[in-house]
Symmetry: C2
Subunit: 307 residues, 2 copies
């Protein structure tokens, strides 16, 4: 099947109104009155973000969700996406069908449609990048730069689970139950970005970031953009039981450097409660300090670096 | 240098207003009152669209221009772009500086700015994809589907030059002068999409496409979307002297199947004159016929296919 056949069979059924059935050179991005259109783009790479033996459906969903996570952290509700695919010649119709099915399920789940993209063949590894579009009420996008001294720091979900799943695939020795192992692998394969939290987040957050490079590294982005210091109380970082079982005493230092969480870290007024956990505060100064038992812990590798 | 260092040093200076200095997770796409926002995305691949020994600046410009070509064909004026880069570990600061310089020059030339993107490292080949945004007056995007029986078919520029340049790189034997060879190689390395023709095109075209897969293949997209037949008069297809010198008697069949032209093919009323050449007409039926000396020529491989 050539690229036009692949598009017609697997991807055209996923196209939304602006996508023109994927039969034109370009698509139209619908505008929403009184709203800003927010765009983000992220690629996932084989051997880092996914493995060739992962189900095609979860690879598709991870490619989408790492982008939905960015939109959620900015307070934007997702609406459309573009898909750039570089497919090895060995790809099968079954694989493509599974990939498209994974996208279809997430389109339904998150209320989004495909606008367009680009499909080509490669002699190398499978490469996937997604560009996602969402809307925020005009002027409402949450920046990294809005933190204020005295704010508290909060995170959604639990931290480090995806990194645990990756370690298992990389043959880290462990004594987990099957259920614990499957939990961590599922977190690695299919991130659970808090997409419905985007709207409430806009009402409370002074600054926000999605956790992709690692909790400490990403809080560093807020600290740097806001020209302030962030202090994290290690005892309060939310950790899952399976991750504690995997890493034992090292769990906290592993978790905060792991990356790939696709949860949201944000700063807001002190004392808030909701589907998030308070983990620290904002102060004058710079950088991120991780406090354990009252003293500052060194985080040797504060997050994932591509280079 | 890590990805943040690369972004800060080479790409942040290219960012426009909505790009927030490339220091946030997402960007804001400015809306323009009374206009539709048009989006397109295309990747370029090493060994097909460029070679590792090409100047970094021309690789950057080709990645951009293959997208500007799509916008121009749709009647859209370019405004912003996103850049997704997958960089081999061997990339040097000089290479990155040249790449950024190529982008900077084209931003100036075409009046566009960088909005954001994604940079990662790869063990494989350099991979570049660009997503470009442009504006058309509301409802004014030119589709592939609007051709009418009786319309004439026109193209901008000359056809097949880029394919000639590629053939030279692939060691096709030739007896060209240095000047002829350099002309064809330049057309391969740096497409010349007729960006300023977008606005006048909106006033005349009933259907339009950019020529990326090959003249016959891309006219096939108009024929198929418009449910009509396109007849091309081979004698009228505009061909450059260097390309005639390269291919001799085979020049026409080579040119119409070559692809990578990034010129515009469109349908419009008969008898128009301007910066374009009439090459055929639209009739009832389906498919594309290439007429040579009154009989239909077979085009064995009507255009570039990735698969």
């Amino acid at each position: 099947m050539d690229e036009f056949g692949i598009i017609a069979r697997y991807f055209a059924p996923l196209a939304g109104a602006g996508g023109l059935g994927l039969t034109d050179d370009a698509a139209i991005l619908p505008q929403r009155a009184g709203h800003d259109l927010v765009v983000t783009t992220d690629a996932i790479a084989e051997g880092v973000d996914f493995f060739g033996f992962d189900p095609a459906a979860t690879i598709a969903q991870k490619a989408l969700r790492v982008n939905l996570s960015d939109l959620a952290a900015k307070g934007a509700e997702p609406a459309h996406y573009l898909l750039n695919l570089s497919l090895p010649h060995t790809v099968t119709p079954d694989w493509l069908a599974g990939f498209a099915q994974g996208l279809a399920e997430d389109q339904q789940r998150f209320g989004i449609t495909l606008l367009g993209g680009d499909t080509s063949a490669t002699d190398g590894a499978l490469a996937i990048s997604v560009t996602a579009f969402g809307y925020v009420p005009q002027g409402g996008m949450i920046r990294r730069s809005g933190a204020r001294a005295g704010d508290h720091v909060y995170v959604t979900g639990t931290i480090g689970d995806s990194g645990g799943g990756l370690a298992i695939f990389r043959r880290e020795k462990h004594a987990l139950t099957e259920e614990q192992r499957d939990f961590l692998i599922a977190r690695y394969r299919v991130p659970q970005p808090p997409v419905t939290f985007a709207a409430p987040l806009r009402d409370i957050a002074s600054a926000s970031v999605d956790i992709s490079d690692g909790l400490i590294a990403d809080l560093g982005h807020i600290a740097s953009a806001s020209k302030l210091r962030i202090v994290v109380d290690g005892a309060h970082v939310p950790l899952s039981d399976p991750l504690r079982a995997l890493w034992g005493d090292a769990v906290l230092l592993r978790a905060v450097a792991a990356g790939d969480d696709y949860q949201i870290a944000f700063t807001a007024a002190p004392g808030l409660t909701g589907p998030f956990t308070p983990i620290g505060h904002v102060a004058a100064g710079e950088g991120v300090s991780l406090m354990i038992n009252g003293s500052e812990a060194a985080v040797s590798k504060p997050g994932y670096r591509h280079f």
